[in-house]
Amino acid sequence: MNSKVFPFNEMRSDAGARPPYDYYDAWFSAQDNQRLAQKAAEAEAFFRRTGITFNVYGQADAEERLIPFDLIPRILSSREWTKLSRGIEQRVAALNAFLHDIYNRQEILRAGIIPTELIARNDAFLPQMMDFTPPGGVYTHIVGTDMVRTGEDDFFVLEDNARTPSGVSYMLENRETMLQMFPELFSTIRVQPVSDYPKNLRRALEASAPASCTGRPCVAVLTPGIFNSAYYEHSFLADQMGVELVEGHDLRVVDGHITMRTTQGYKVIDVIYRRVDDEFLDPLTFNPASMLGVPGIMDVYRAGNITIANAPGTGVADDKAIYSYMPDIVEFYTGERAILKNVETHRCSEPDSLKYVLDNLADLVVKEVHGSGGYGMLVGPAASKAEIAAFADKLRARPDNYIAQPTLALSTVPIFTESGLAPRHVDLRPFALVSPKGINITPGGLTRVALQAGSLVVNSSQGGGTKDTWVLDD
């Protein structure tokens, strides 16, 4: 793909503002730049005050940072959203069916749709989960589906986050900030609300309680602690749901149940929303050096006395090699064609693909199959000759560790700068909640934006920012 093609601008086309932005565009044109600059400063103060900060790993003076917030909203029409949300619902249902199958009968492997070694050699696959069905049959209670757009009707899934998607607190706080700063917009433009998310999350978690739970389920959020980069989000979600925020050392197994330390002794927990990685969850089962988990939680889990959300071992589905099979996975389990498109993906484990990738490195994006957060990847068009050559060596050494995708002309939405609007590339992470009672998708999601002109990397750890995402109610 030619990277010099002009990317799709979601706000303005040559003919003027695109329909979802009609009113906003007119409003914006009537604004005074100085006032908006003032508002941008207010927004930053608002975030500081709320404490929405994060820590960057690998920085010695671990100072708290803000994810930059841009005050131009990203706007989707309700028609655009309806199609996306139907696609997400289908995909999320398929993901859960896939995970159940992989950890039980493995029919998709027997049918030869996915090569067995892709599962067997997958680090995120947990043999401890075999022949076990989590309470209510749900594996991924919370899913974040990363989407990109390249044209009017062209949305693609970039990756599935079935393990522990983060960022939902930004979705909620971005909206609160916009409501505070620009109430006049919301009284004219009808935007679908997102504020029910914490309530829906609690309901989804409660509905997934194990059969051993009688009465109202006790829910808790398990955090690795205050030094984790997403600690703010953990505390925010616990607070908004009205449930306790706990660390591993607050928990212990008593009479076959997970219990938490309270001022009145130990209290049974039925559902644990954990933001601790699989590896650290149970030192008796996984990493013995872990101080973050709960010794024995896997035994309690397998005995059916606690729900862990998301289930251990769901990371299998986040694997980028598995991703390349998603259209087949969706079709296999739902019997329907996938509504959402995948980005064309070359599996470097296949010799023909590897050759193609090596020949075209300068035009491709190459990713590690288990990587996340924008680390360890090569963006061909932005890389120097030396970087490309070094990466080619890594590829030849371990081809099965990589997949490659064309460099997409990601759509842009303008950001606000002192000199006016400037287009920047964006992606979108909608959040889906899954429980035995059904799937609930919050309208919109988190829009991440690359703040550097031309940059395609939107990750907050790499200098990306966020925007409020509006789905119009019409």
Binding site: F182, P183, S187, R190, V191, R202, Q240
Partner: protein, 302 residues
């Protein structure tokens, strides 16, 4: 004076709840603004001067119109006048806080507040109210003056919560169609936001958003600082302290205890049986009568 300050804050809170509903659930806006006006007990005044319930019209009426004796600006002026009259009864810190508040609001509310500035103005009102209250608790002698201040706050709060329930009581009634079902989101959201209990409800109540649970929380929960039960307890206690200090029991002591007895140890089921609407109306009347009795007992009316 503290009744006034408490009322200013309650009005700001009502506006905030109404404003949010208007922005996030726009098809309910008109009806919501009307119920805000009814709750603030200023329907007649409002309708004498305005037609329709347009959001910025309602907001400005409640915030700053001089012909509305319950507008925030009118109230703050009255509170500040009161503070000047009784300047010697207040610590310097309390007086500064009240006077600053008045100066700030006079400036802030001099001109109609455009929609864009509403969140900022409401934030200032909330912050100033907290400042005055902090000065009161932190610096005043715990004597009769302090008791009268607390009494004013508690009575105003009681009245305000009762009015909110009164206006929304129909949405809290467990009618056959939604026994056991969840309340309409918008309704409970406004009710809880109007008393700043949107978050604490989730923490305090081990139940979902059902009508009896919310009614119970607002009427009977002794942990909720704006529930009728909490306020009545506070009023009876303050009057008790005054009786001790003055070594004289007054008729208002009895009235307060009667009011409290209607709330203590009740369960919400029996209140629904009695009729939520009738129950709350009686509470509003009794609170007004009690306030009058206190004025009489302690010769505020001269």
């Amino acid at each position: 004076m503290f009744r006034y300050l408490e009322r200013a804050e309650n009005i700001a809170r009502l506006i905030e709840a109404g404003f949010r509903i208007a922005l996030t659930r726009s098809n309910h806006a008109e009806a919501e603004w009307k119920s805000v006006i009814v709750t603030s007990a200023s329907q007649d005044t409002y309708e004498a001067h305005h037609e329709g319930y347009d959001s910025s019209q309602v907001i400005n009426f409640l915030l700053r119109e001089a012909h509305n004796p319950s507008s925030v600006l009118s109230i703050i002026k009255a509170a500040r006048d009161n503070a000047r009259l009784t300047r010697t009864a207040l610590t310097t810190e309390v007086w500064y806080a009240v006077n600053d508040t008045w100066m700030m609001f006079s400036e802030l509310l001099k001109n109609p507040v455009p929609e864009t500035e509403v969140p900022g103005v409401l934030a200032v009102i909330r912050q100033q109210a907290a400042l005055v209250r902090g000065a009161l608790h932190g610096t005043m002698l715990r004597n009769d003056i302090y008791d009268f201040c607390s009494l004013g706050i508690a009575i105003e709060r009681m009245d305000s919560t009762a009015r909110i329930i009164d206006v929304k009581y129909y949405s809290l009634l467990p009618s056959p169609s939604f026994v056991g079902s969840r309340l309409d989101n918008v309704q409970w959201e406004t009710v809880l936001r109007s008393v700043s209990a949107h978050r604490s409800f989730r923490w305090a109540v081990e139940d979902d958003f059902t009508a009896p649970a919310i009614a119970n929380f607002l009427i009977l929960d002794s942990r909720m600082p704006r529930s009728l039960n909490f306020c009545a307890t506070q009023i009876a206690a303050n009057l008790g302290l005054l009786a001790d200090e003055y070594k004289a029991r007054k008729p208002s002591n009895d009235l307060a205890e009667q009011l409290l007895a209607r709330l203590k140890g009740r369960d919400i089921g029996s209140i629904f049986e009695e009729g939520l609407h009738e129950f709350v109306e009686t509470v509003i009347d009794d609170t007004a009568r009690l306030a009058q009795q206190i004025e009489q007992d302690y010769r505020f009316t001269g």
